[in-house]
């Protein structure tokens, strides 16, 4: 094998603290450096590996920056049309009830064009996991306004900042679907610090564990940065996210065991 490391001499068993899971394909990701998408991919694949369910898992990825997620995740996947992942996942889980099924969707995908599919899959109480990457913008298409774009936040289609009188309010879809009887576990996490990453992984683990109980949708939102779309450095974007996104989209569990968290 060709050596890819600058300092192969450092690669000794006693120095090995972390190893990429084989469930992540060994190839460059299509994400911008600093973007949260890749971190969530890793947590997700680690969860499948630790639970040893990769061969029983079917993933559905969206149209958005993660449109190529099926190339990076070494499991069987389907690429949905923009917004329709929950419809695919509904059929898949009903036709293969003992498979683990998840969708991975952006905010435009899940909360704009796919709002109906999201709400109805949640309300029917389908038994799959929805992973929702909320970066408040349409990353893939070049930084247009998303349903989750904050008031005053600039995007290429709100170049002077989102004016709620003209463009409407941000949609808190996670709070909305938490109200529905078909959701069982709803949580909002982030991946900008090691501690946050660990929490997200725990949430993902719980979401997949719950698929065994067949009590409804497990929904993990990850508030994430889009340093390119926000036109910031990765570090600036994470600071901006903590200062602006988290107050609007507070982190933590929203619904646990089918009960809203007070």
């Amino acid at each position: 094998m060709e050596e890819k490391f600058a300092h192969p001499e450092l690669r000794t068993p006693e120095n090995l603290v972390y190893k990429r899971t084989d469930l992540l394909v060994d190839c460059p990701l299509s994400y911008c450096p600093g973007c949260g998408h890749g971190v969530v991919h890793r947590m997700l694949m680690e969860v499948l590996e630790e639970k040893d369910i990769a061969s029983k898992t079917i993933g559905v990825n969206p149209v958005g920056c993660s449109v190529l997620a099926y190339d990076f995740m070494n499991i069987d996947m389907l690429g949905a049309a923009h917004g329709r992942a929950p419809a695919l996942a509904t059929a898949i889980k009903r036709l293969w009830p003992d498979r683990y099924v998840f969708t991975y969707q952006g905010d435009g995908d899940l909360a704009a064009i796919g709002t109906a599919e999201t709400i109805h899959a949640c309300n029917r109480g389908e038994n799959f996991t929805i992973i929702f990457i909320n970066n408040g913008i349409y990353g893939m298409t070049g930084g247009q306004m998303a349903p989750t774009t904050l008031p005053g936040m600039r995007s290429s289609t709100s170049p002077y900042g989102r004016d709620i009188d003209i463009m409407g309010h941000p949609l808190k879809i996670t709070e909305l679907i938490a109200q529905l009887p078909g959701t069982y576990y709803v949580t909002r996490q982030s991946v900008q610090t090691p501690a946050a990453v660990r929490k997200t992984k725990k949430a993902l683990r719980k979401a997949f564990d719950l698929q065994d109980e067949k009590k409804g949708i497990s929904f993990v939102e990850v508030v994430s940065n889009c340093n390119s779309g926000w036109k910031m450095t990765p570090v600036q974007s994470n600071t901006w996210m903590e200062e602006n996104m988290f107050p609007a989209y507070p982190l933590g569990d929203i619904k646990v065991n089918g009960e809203l968290v007070k």
């Binding site: 029983k56 079917i58 070494n74 690429g79 049309a81 329709r84 419809a87 009903r94 109805h120």
Partner: protein, 360 residues
């Protein structure tokens, strides 16, 4: 063995699907096809064969449920009528691009827009020429009886899996709603998960570590790759054109004039043909059964022996374009159509033949 029953066309589709071992039906109510799902909900095949039946929140969701199910290798069915099928076009295009087998039934009603709930054939172009975006085709069957509604379910699933392509049954509100005697084949059991995996090694249904992961997609950002996919599709359509053409001829041997019609129009033309023959006009009927692939060669050969053709459709003139392309020689080809849900009478057809072709 099998069984004879008196049924509506829509019910025959539903019953035939259960008997064909269909794994899942996903649909949204719309007249004149709601009986398909209503029949399934009464029969509850989920308790007998294990077939999933789900009322989706829209046709958009229904077609994407189909895409999901088909992408895992399962036998899946949806049905709708014109406005609903318009909503499905993006999903159908995705399925054609991702090479997924599925069966889609369109019980056509008059349009455009909300139109009418009465029967029509105005969705011919949409069904046959693509409908959604990109260069693709579905195999399209046009049943002319309740019996064919049932028959094309099994046939449709077979070719869908043979070619990995979406297949459409293009019918209309009259055939969907009318009752006729129908012979139903004995039920075949649904495939087991093992059998599904063996039949569809390409499907994404959980990756054993002994193989690479499967990906269901129509995306290739590299133009060369996307062109390759298109060439694969075009090659598939050529094979389908070579092997899957179906048509019916009635009394064409001695005919001077030919009526060309599909589906319900062909039933009316059969009567018109008899009326014309009583008047001493030698008329035959050519009925395309597959609309894609279109029976081009057969129409071309037939045209050499006759004096003219009247294409009868419940639309403003759609299939006639394919007939004209197929004929390729100098005989009159005219159209007679009624639309908006009006069904032409046999007398009207004979009159049109006399006025536009014989006297024209």
């Amino acid at each position: 063995m099998g069984e004879l029953r008196l049924m509506k066309g829509n019910e025959a589709i539903a019953e035939a699907a259960i008997r064909a071992g269909c794994d899942g039906y996903f649909g949204y109510p719309i007249t004149p096809q709601s009986e398909v799902m209503e029949y399934l909900m009464v029969e509850r095949p989920y308790e007998t064969t294990g077939m999933v039946v789900l009322q989706a929140e829209s046709e958009v969701a229904a077609i994407n449920m189909l895409y999901g199910g088909a992408g895992t290798g399962k036998m899946v069915l949806t049905s709708s009528s014109s406005p609903g099928v318009s909503l499905m076009q993006e999903g159908i295009s995705y399925m054609a691009g991702a090479e997924l087998p599925a069966l889609i039934v369109n019980i056509v009603r008059g349009g455009p827009g909300l139109g009418t709930i009465q029967p029509s054939q105005a969705d011919y172009f949409q069904a046959v020429k693509g409908g959604g975006h990109g260069d693709y085709h579905m195999i399209v069957y046009a049943p002319a009886s309740v019996q064919e509604m049932a028959d094309f379910v099994q046939i449709g699933f077979d070719v869908a899996f043979k070619y990995r392509t979406p297949v459409m049954i293009l019918s209309d509100g009259a055939i969907g709603q009318m009752m006729e005697k129908v012979y139903l084949a004995d039920p075949v059991p649904r495939l087991t998960e093992k059998e599904v995996i063996a039949r569809c090694p390409w499907a994404s249904n959980g990756r054993p570590m002994s193989r690479q992961h499967n990906i269901i997609t129509s995306l290739d950002l590299d133009p060369a790759g996307q062109e390759r996919l298109n060439l694969v599709l075009q090659e598939k359509y050529r094979k389908i054109e070579e092997s899957e053409v179906m048509f019916e001829t009635i009394d064409c041997e001695d005919a001077d004039y030919i009526l060309v019609a599909f589906g319900l129009s062909a039933r009316i033309c059969q009567k018109a043909m008899n009326l014309a023959r009583q008047k001493g006009i030698k008329v035959g009927l050519f009925r395309p059964i597959t609309l894609f692939p279109f029976p081009k060669k057969e129409i071309h050969e037939l045209a050499k022996r006759v004096k003219g053709m009247l294409v009868v459709e419940m639309n403003a003139g759609q299939m006639i374009e394919d007939v004209q392309l197929a004929v390729g020689c100098d005989i009159p080809i005219k159209h007679y159509g009624r639309f908006g849900g009006i069904i032409p009478t046999p007398d009207e057809v004979v009159k049109a033949l006399e006025e536009t072709i014989i006297g024209g």
